[in-house]
């Protein structure tokens, strides 16, 4: 099981449990296929109630999130297991991809366009579903349509990415070009 380091170890502004987060992250790391000896760091900015989350490093694998990303939207300031798994599953699948030579040509995250980010997310979250989690597919479809257009082509490409395995960066880039060609 992956070694997980969560910072901070104790929270003062939100009712998060670092131990529980580490437990969930370790389980996700196993399901997405990361080696057991890998270290995963999760840095949480509890001061910010917003939901930004990023993969900031591959060595060690580091995920940086704003506190709102792990929050239970029904009961603010409390931890949601589902939110943790949603965010971490998506980003760890991205880490797995980035460690694969098939993604060697992918630009750094900061250089990705919003359509590229969203296409990669659809591909990652679809795999989360297939490893046994229950992410919201309609939510991801809405994200995808926001960036790729509210068109039949965008919906078709989304379905393809959602159910795909073994894609390369070139495949994701081609998917973005396909939706761009039909965007109004």
């Amino acid at each position: 099981m992956a070694a997980v380091v969560v910072t901070p170890e104790a929270f003062t502004l939100v009712q998060f449990d670092a131990g529980r987060i580490a437990e969930l992250v370790a389980e996700v790391a196993g399901r997405v296929g990361l080696p057991a000896d890998v270290e995963v760091r999760v840095e949480i900015d509890e001061r910010v109630p917003l939901g930004r989350s990023r993969l900031t490093s591959l060595d060690p694998i580091t995920i940086a999130v704003q506190g709102g990303a792990f929050e239970n939207a029904k009961v603010p300031r409390t931890l949601s297991d589902r939110s943790v798994v949603d965010v971490v599953g998506r980003l760890l699948f991205r880490a797995v991809d980035r460690l694969d030579p098939a993604f060697a040509d992918a630009p750094a995250d900061e250089a990705l366009t919003l359509p590229q980010h969203t296409a990669w997310d659809a591909y990652a979250v679809g795999r989360c579903e297939r490893v046994g989690y229950a992410p919201s597919k309609p939510r991801r479809l809405y994200h995808f349509r926001n960036r790729h257009g509210f068109t039949d082509t965008a919906d078709r490409v989304f379905e393809r990415l959602w159910s795909a395995d073994g894609l390369t960066w070139a495949d994701l880039d081609a998917a973005c070009a396909e939706t761009a060609a039909t965007r109004p």
Partner: protein, 269 residues
């Protein structure tokens, strides 16, 4: 049937979880990110933001619960007051028409939630809108609901409509545009009834407008709704004027929002 219900008595099924205004405003995370940095009233709904689709989903859910409360508020106004000089039958008829509109808005909002991948009850519900609809004086209640609450609805719907335009989402843009038109009508009804019911009672009209100022300031939510460059929800000046607000009245709401923001800034220093 009971008259003058309190917000705590509103019926909801198990999907809904309520958050109080106190809890919302006392969230300790509403502090500057770095020492000395300026507090922001909240993120703006701009498509270029990574989190914009989720922010739109959250706002749509807030609109949905707001529509339920607007329906409950207008419905209570039909029932809570006897027909008389204070609440003529025609006023109740207008409120019944508004109930019809709000019920339709609830249904549209649920379908928009489906469109945006949002579950009913996914976010906590705050009942501050219904609280503004609990005033025992029909004139004050009408002013709080139809001018302050529905005025806020104009600003929010316009923000969502613009987001739909910016993301080329034909469903969101179309639905928000139609609901916005209804809200303009609701505000206009409130303005007309305020004038008619207080025609010979300037003191009561002054009290009603003062109540509206209190509610408008509360609804400005520390500058979340306002006229500044970084206001997440902007005052929709054009639509407010179509609804019968004078430019001076819109300016006053803008000023109230600046005050609310300054007070929120002071509270976190």
């Amino acid at each position: 049937m009971k008259r003058h219900m309190q917000a705590t008595e509103l019926a909801r099924d198990e999907r809904f979880v309520r958050i109080s205004t106190e809890e919302r405003f006392n969230d300790p995370r509403q502090v500057p990110r770095e020492p000395g940095s300026k507090r922001r009233p909240g993120p703006q709904l701009r498509p270029e933001r990574h989190e914009a689709p989720d922010a739109a989903r959250a706002m749509m859910h807030a609109i949905f619960t707001g529509e339920i409360q607007a329906l409950e508020g207008a419905g209570r106004t039909c029932w809570d007051f006897e027909v008389g000089a204070d609440s003529p039958f025609e006023l109740k008829l207008d409120m019944a028409r508004q109930c019809w509109d709000e019920a339709r808005h609830c249904e549209i909002s649920v379908k928009l939630g489906d469109h945006m991948g949002t579950e009913v009850g996914e976010y906590a519900e705050n009942v501050v809108l219904f609280e503004a609809a609990c005033n025992p004086d029909p004139v004050l209640r009408l002013t709080g609901v139809n001018r302050a609450l529905e005025g806020l609805a104009i600003d929010v719907f316009n923000t969502m409509r613009e987001y739909g335009q910016a993301t080329a989402d034909p469903v969101l843009e179309f639905c928000e545009d139609w609901m916005l038109a209804d809200e303009v009508t609701h505000v206009k009804m409130g303005s007309d009834w305020l004038r008619r019911l207080t025609e010979n009672d300037p003191e009561r009209r002054a009290r009603a407008l003062e109540f509206q100022r209190v509610v408008d300031k509360l609804f400005s939510a520390g500058g979340f709704r306002g006229d500044e460059d970084d206001s997440p929800v902007k005052l929709a000046r054009r639509f407010r004027e179509l609804a019968g607000f004078t430019p001076a009245e819109v300016e006053e709401i803008s000023q109230l929002s600046r005050q609310a923001r300054a007070e929120a800034d002071a509270a976190v220093r």
